[in-house]
Subunit: 282 residues, 2 copies
Amino acid sequence: MRVLALLDGTLADPEAPLLRADDLSVMRGDGVFETILVADRKPRELGPHLDRLERSARLLEMRLPERAAWERAVRTVIDNWPWDTDREMALKLVCSRGVDGGDGTPSAFAMGMQIGPETIRKRRDGVSVVTLDRGFAPDLMERAPWLLLSAKTLSYAVNMAAMREAESRGADEVIFVATDGTVLEGPTSNVVLAKGRTLYTTPPSTGILRGTTQGAVFRAAEEAGWQTRVETFSAEELLRADGLWLASSVRLLTQVHTVDGTRIPADADLHAELSKLYESNY
Amino acid sequence: MRVLALLDGTLADPEAPLLRADDLSVMRGDGVFETILVADRKPRELGPHLDRLERSARLLEMRLPERAAWERAVRTVIDNWPWDTDREMALKLVCSRGVDGGDGTPSAFAMGMQIGPETIRKRRDGVSVVTLDRGFAPDLMERAPWLLLSAKTLSYAVNMAAMREAESRGADEVIFVATDGTVLEGPTSNVVLAKGRTLYTTPPSTGILRGTTQGAVFRAAEEAGWQTRVETFSAEELLRADGLWLASSVRLLTQVHTVDGTRIPADADLHAELSKLYESNY
């Protein structure tokens, strides 16, 4: 099931071609995107997602349709989703730099997609992860902005390849690690770690994407009396934590039970507590 | 002027939509491509380009249409190009992993595109380059194949961002440098350096793309008595060389006259000699 809307708020046929062959999304992965959870007709963290989309577009120095147009497209998708059979959807906002050699008019759309059984399984059963070298140092972003480290671009081939590498090692997910051993992020998630009543996540200054779901979890946890710390930690800390999660918009707070083949504490009560805190935002 | 062919050898309207919104080229930059020069109806280095396309697809673990289908599409584009007005074209071969959640049937096409005035100017007048940190060590490829370093993927947002960085510094092109100072490649070219009667280029083991044009230049130069060496060299060597070029399929052997604002030897006779050697392949 897919529902496709254009930025003028009209519906389009998701099975019909939409992009020209020379669109820069097709030819160069030259654009930005966001994936948003919509549950019971309500998009979660829409504001932070649109903020991040705008930030990514700024980093790519590309034009982006105005916020009202995105909100209109989101509304069209939501209004046309079959809520009687699916109470959730993954909503993608996609925008490219437009046609190669064109006038820079962006190509943009919003697409609602069904949430697959794999995602449901990961939410319910937790995941095993492998740590993979991301190949760069945690201070690279500042010295090399042309590498677009903190932008959510359409150039995601490496993120997909990392997921295949995890699969080939019998794992569900990946945690990228910098050359000095600093934990970075997952290919499509942020890392959240608990030690006692303190939650940790990696700072965006390392070149990772600022997490919308991680942000929502931290916000609710702080209100409930947890301490939160945004600071770097090393891959060894993953094994020493009282709890470890990947936070992503669609998989939510996914508990990690295994790191590089080693079982780690995966307390069901702690997971339920944090999940409930996250849900309290909505 | 654009001429678009599908892999069954039929023409398609280049101004009509071809790809679905959920094609993985659009959503993830998840695919491979090649750009080939066609001059006077003859595609240059078609075999090496198709070899590299196949290699890229293997690294991405994706299905690729068979070689005969690519050759058929290439033929269709060439047969329909307006050779009376344009004696050259840039021919792109593009292939994605297909539709997200689909059966893996690749989406593929060949597109002939006009060669712009910027390219003509660079060929004729040479280029200024800036060196930019690529952020990784030259031994990364072997230890982290999931980073797809030597694959020519559709995820080219960083390559495009690097070109914008060059432009913002008043330069024409970029040479990427590894964290240890080793010269890597341009965002869409290989580096070729002359010292006396020896040509140098960076080895593919550093994670760069194996150059088709560089390969053709070396082949012809060897036959004409030049020595060639495929070995690493540092960014300082760029300033000490007797000649420096960027080799790319469409820009050909482009002479570099300025590196990071410093003029370097750009001998017109040497450039003419190497260009002639390259052309002798065809």
